[in-house]
Symmetry: C2
Subunit: 296 residues, 2 copies
């Protein structure tokens, strides 16, 4: 398999056990399962080691963080070497005392290829991420794997066309979105379908705008800390092709492994027929670096 050939991606949608040891064992098993059915680049959900602690602001939860060269990456590096695969491992990164990131490590068979630090940090009732995570300072990136060039963004990034565009312009053929998104129980009946549909639509839109594959890898299961109404992670992990069509989708809100093929020839063909990159008006896009264009 060479850098310009086809390869298979694996999406691990999982509920996360309370115990970080158990969650690592579960992730390892599901990565092995994905590799067993042919996946070459396998992505775990956002913050896969722990329950989604951002439902509350509690300083003790910073104890859950670990350095990039820590237990998760070390354990998974052994696994990628053994299986000959690449794993995208989203961790709670401790960079320095008082400095933490929501980070995805890209681990090739021969070791760490690099990291991406989530740049867009949400903060909404039940998703208090600004308390925990410093916005990423590494910009957007694509990573070379033995199978192809891939991009990684994390969860809230998925609502930002700029993030997808810049990752695609770095040469990624597929953008992974490890995610932890779910419903507030009180909102699900009224808004649940619309929320999930918007989430799917905007990411399919990124695939179309950029002529890249998109792989959204969500957490599953219901997590309810004491004193909270809890969050029901909606699963629904999917792969969209470079013109936005759904190729694979996890059918329900439980554990699932999805495998789909990335074909660079299909990217070439799509972009040749829909040559959006050719006509970008980079001379007049400067305003995107402003918050709002309300100056007279």
């Amino acid at each position: 398999m060479n850098a310009m050939g086809k390869f298979n991606i694996g999406l691990v949608q999982m509920s996360v056990p309370d115990d970080p040891g158990a969650s690592l064992r579960k992730a390892v098993e599901m990565v092995e399962q994905a590799a067993g059915i042919g996946a070459n680049v396998i992505c775990l959900p956002e913050l896969f080691r722990t329950h989604y602690f951002c439902q509350r602001e509690d300083p003790s939860f910073f104890d859950l963080a670990e350095p990039v060269q820590g237990p998760s990456v070390n354990a998974l590096s052994k696994l990628t070497a053994k299986l000959g695969v690449t794993v995208i491992a989203p961790i709670f990164e401790k960079r320095a005392p008082g400095l933490y990131h929501n980070t995805a490590a890209v681990i090739n068979p021969d070791g760490l290829a690099g990291i991406y630090r989530k740049t867009h940090i949400p903060d909404d009732p039940g998703f208090y991420e600004k308390y925990y995570f410093t916005p990423g300072d590494l910009g957007f990136a694509a990573f070379d794997t033995p199978f192809g060039r891939i991009g990684v963004l994390v969860c809230w990034d998925q609502w930002y066309p700029e993030a997808a565009r810049l990752t695609a312009l770095k040469g990624a053929s597929v953008i992974f979105y490890p995610t932890a998104i779910g419903w507030h129980p009180a909102e699900k009946e009224r808004f649940g379908d619309a929320q999930k549909e918007a989430w799917r639509t905007i990411q399919r839109g990124h695939a179309i705008a950029n002529g890249v594959y998109v792989a959204a890898v969500n957490r599953a299961g219901f997590e309810k800390p004491e004193g909270s109404a809890g969050l029901e992670f909606w699963g629904g992990s999917f792969v969209a092709g470079p013109f936005g069509a759904l190729m694979k989708e996890a059918s329900a809100e439980h554990d699932a492994v999805i495998v789909a093929q990335i074909d660079p020839a299909r990217i070439e063909e799509t972009r040749r027929n829909w040559p959006f990159l050719r006509d970008r008006r980079t001379d007049i896009y400067g305003g995107v670096t402003e918050k709002f264009l309300d100056k007279p």
Copy 2:
């Protein structure tokens, strides 16, 4: 009705008669029809005065162009004054000998509010627009009408997240996309559904990313110049709400008038619950002004 209140938009989906006089009369009738059922801001399809001449490269077709202050805008200005509405009139603009644009004029009841010149110009088999149109040099804009602040982009612009973003950042509550998109007869069976679905999806994505309404206003009908296989314009004009849900959609490929309500309170509510504008990382978006980020 004040600038912060609700207002109604009208989408005129129409097939275009061969004769520019007949097309103007038809447009006037359909604008009257839209106004009669409550529309305040009414949008015609791209290049509504003429058949879609870009199916061929023929210098005689430049004769179809007219100045902004020309017959179309003059006639429609009388109409907007009479009806008390705003009309978005997409014309083939003659700016100077040898300098032509694909332009949308925004005409308020008291006269021309401004123009937008299509910035992204396609060129594909059957859509030879680069031959006819100089890329717009006015950038992106929003226009004040007596009913609300609106944005206008044209057709191929609809595939570019940057265009929607910059128009939304100018304060538009709704982005209109007058359009002339259709199927090649030979492609329709195999690719038709996927093309229309991608077209709808990416524009719904712009609504979601920006928390704005989106109104796509397409041409209808089959146009077949001599020696060409023709184009079947697919209609399908629609309005999406600020979280991307379809509110109204023309059900088939024929003439139709759609009216939908724009509610600034719904934009406020959507953006409050999904505060994407708050978290844009304008400090690291500079790369969007590059064609590709392949520098080492």
